[in-house]
Symmetry: D3
């Protein structure tokens, strides 16, 4: 499925493959992994292809790990048996917030895949997903808290934070960084308020997308207008 | 721009970067290069990501080289000055004929880029493209010549041939292979007849696409219906 | 210098090299980078050497990037001229909290290096460090908030959080993750309280270490006894 | 065995190893693979060693794949059982036409290996080779069709074509490329005429070589004098 | 354990892992392997990390192979069963003679590991070590034979030799090289006299270290004072 | 040129390239480097190609370094100006002693190259080679000292030694290793006697080869009959 938030477009796909990584064999448990990548022409200035460079960069690996960790928080891997769900998040066009768009879209792809597997009778537990997962980026730009920054604002943000949350109001992951500046704890609180409100909107959008016949294009949340 | 032929969808982009490869420096000439890649989920069974494997496979390199060579046949590189046009062809969904779809789409992306550069006054010669380029795959399936095979037919073709041609009726590249069988010269002639007719249809489609505001989606040729 | 927190021992070194990365050239600014690595025998079960595997793993890159980003928050890179400070953090023995120990020790190594450079008259601004930096790990184990978890507790923590803070009370980076569980915002607040208190103790320890002749061994904070 | 065509010298060897690649296991079928490489000093200007660069270049992989595909066209892999024949083609000295010389020589090495295996009673079918395989390069230089171009002519050819054919008059593979120029279909026909005549001469030479005690040096065809 | 010779400090560790390399499986024999590495900041000028470069340099591999070969000379691998002892020698600080310090320290680490395995009843033969192993570097500096050269002398030595010997007076390995000069056989004899005397001192030091509770720091030999 | 000792055949080539490695720039001195490699089919059992594996093995690097070091002992690099001589030693067929055959053959290739450069007036000093270099392998097999062991004997040698010497009677490099056994100093002396006698024979053979028109095949020494 294709996620679009503003000018950011990410293609999110869930594939099921037999077997699990070696360290997990004979556990009876499944696994969920994610790979994030950016097409060379997704950014304003073309970036080199990592396959050609022969190695996956630190940023790419960090985001891939974040996506996998975030989505593993909502699924009971025992229900899969020893099978692996691979989530591929490929950024076709980038304008800030690619990692949070990827998580939000990956949840929909995962949910669709699980529905398909359940219908095919391949799951031990037909409802292995315990909650919805969405993510937003928030930041401080020119001293003000802003939700879901486009690239132009993101690149001059004083604080940048990504929040992954569930529709039950709990947190899955929070990563906040001062960019060339440090920030007081009160700012952290304001950023979190904004992020959790943003996630609420995304859960509504995800529900709409999941109601569509697969594969659909995720409609933009009202918040972006 | 996005090219769609049947179930095959390829995203083709042209980016201009300053400078040329080391072996071409101080020649006063530009360069055109191409990179082809397939998203992991483009095929029915997920294929591993080449960036993760740490090397670009032989098939990928072979196709990238073919695309670059084909498109260099239509452009006067002296007009670019010492700049490089990078053509990225990323297969989002694969159902046979990805390399020929990539070449056909790359021509449109290249043509759009050249129009943009010319308008910006960045070309020594405002019309550096000497002809149109398109490519088709043809094959022999169950003893009959077929144009533009989908994957299911391609995988059991007895002969498989890719033809890159110009709108002036000449050939740029021809690659024909017997798959587990050899073929007489008369078959080669029939395949060429079919391929050149297919290219004619594609030139019409490309002209339509280039008439659209950039970036457009290449309409499917009538031949596919 | 060698940092020891409980059974965790990290060797932190600052080296100054001429020049900056290509993307930063001709900016007049210096750069600070960090590399984290773990010796094969640092963990209970020997882990393979990344140089032998031929690539740096995702976790290693993620931590290296975190250390670099954290320490860049306290230094005015303009004072260095176009030179690079490389911080090497090599884990000789690991028992939880290696990344936070690395940051805390790297600050001392950086501070010593800056003192040396200033004494040698090589800095445009003799006091380019604006604040102290320290980091702690905090977590929830068996439902209770705990500071600076050893490996045995860390591996069964329900929530795991790393906090990088300054001695002026502000935050540099915060990364919190639910491990197989999500967590309410109230838990985040308690974890932060504990983390900031822990950092206070570390600033005292760092001051002691910096008062010693270089290179010294960082004494353990009272909190660990 | 050592193949010499003019100043081009290629060492072709066939080795039999137990087992087949993973994707072919439990099929009961054997496999045939080929690796082409050029010694650093084979060209006028020394070229870097691919093992030192750490990756096999696109041209090398493309030619290796071509050789393997071409030779698989003449052998019944079922006769081998689950064993692999590896054809190594190492260019000791290069003066144009190395890929076609490699195919022509590899046929002789393969044929010798099959004779040896059959004599040792290791083949299910004692005559698994169904036809002879040879390859030539043809081109258009200064407007004229030429067979088997040496490097000096090859580098200024307007059209370059490689043809792999069987001694029964059929085609295995045809690859034709316009070099900085496109070419009409009539030229393709003339090139094919010349190529097929060239292959006839090579089949005679291969028969002579196979009549010699192994390993022999392939005598040059009369055509080269 | 940590070995210190003058300003050279090497951390030597022995780890036992289950299994042996593929080529040794089903032999009933164990294996011993060694990996040598230098921390980036061990040398006066920081050297790049091999994991970041993506490959292990020739010097590193050569020394790793030497250490493994030297220590395999003293141990009966049949006593281990199909298990592997990995010796890790990481240079924390380098001032000449790192490879010989590594071998000398690795012997102590190996001996400790064997004592531990024997006490745990995991060895077929409780005393699989047949002799002690130590190594020294000797050289000719300004025309005079010198034992255990520090870096400053080593870098201007005319002849450089490493000798690995046993406490029974026999040789395990000898490597002598003229550095920008060749040397007569009489010099070789003088270098050997000096080296064997140096090893005698090291055996005494190793015995002291092995008498200490593990892990100890190897005391410096009197010879270094 | 092609060196043949018994069943061992090594192709040795010297190429001159402009420029020197970065660390040697602006020194006014030239450089000499060597690369050793073995063709896959050179050994009885086919060995994998290092370019395909993506890295150069430890043994290959060790031998390449040895060849380069040995040949640098005989040449005045100042005479070359800032140019590099690359010696390529490719083993076509291996039957023991490939590294010493490579050194002995590389001397002839180097000498020919220097003669060519001097004749072309490209050397500051027309006779930059100060002595001849040759190398032999010696070993102890079944308790007896043997010169130039073929593979069958080499693989069961108790001691294995390579000696590189000059025609003035001095040593360049000596590497002796006990294989699963240690050896007394008296054995070292006997091995050296045998090695130096063997080198004398090789110098005679090299002189013959250098008297032939380039490129010649090095005749076998009488000692091998």
């Amino acid at each position: 499925m294709l996620v679009e938030f503003g000018q950011t477009r990410v293609m999110c796909t869930a594939s099921v493959t037999e077997g699990v990584p070696p360290w997990r064999r004979d556990s009876g448990l499944g696994w969920l992994t994610a790979e994030y990548a950016m097409l060379p022409a997704a950014t304003h200035t073309r970036s080199g292809r990592e396959s050609v460079k022969g190695k996956v960069g630190g940023r790419t690996q960090e985001i891939s790990r974040l996506i996998g960790r975030s989505l593993r928080a909502c699924i009971d891997l025992a229900a899969l048996g020893e099978n692996t769900i691979a989530l591929d998040c490929d950024v076709l066009q980038a304008d800030g917030g690619t990692r949070t768009a990827a998580i939000t879209g990956a949840y929909v792809a995962l949910s669709d895949a699980v529905t398909y597997l359940a219908a095919a009778g391949k799951l031990a537990d037909p409802q292995p997903i315990s909650c919805m997962i969405a993510a937003v980026s928030v930041g401080v730009v020119d001293g003000r808290v802003r939700l879901d920054l486009p690239y132009e604002e993101d690149s001059r943000a004083e604080v940048d934070m990504n929040v992954v949350a569930t529709d039950t109001g709990t947190l899955v992951e929070i990563q906040g960084t001062g960019e060339g500046a440090t920030f007081p704890r009160s700012t952290l609180d304001k950023l979190l308020d904004s992020a959790l409100a943003g996630c609420e909107q995304l859960f509504a959008v995800q529900k709409e997308a999941l109601a569509l016949p697969y594969p659909g294009v995720l409609p933009e949340p009202a918040a972006k207008k």
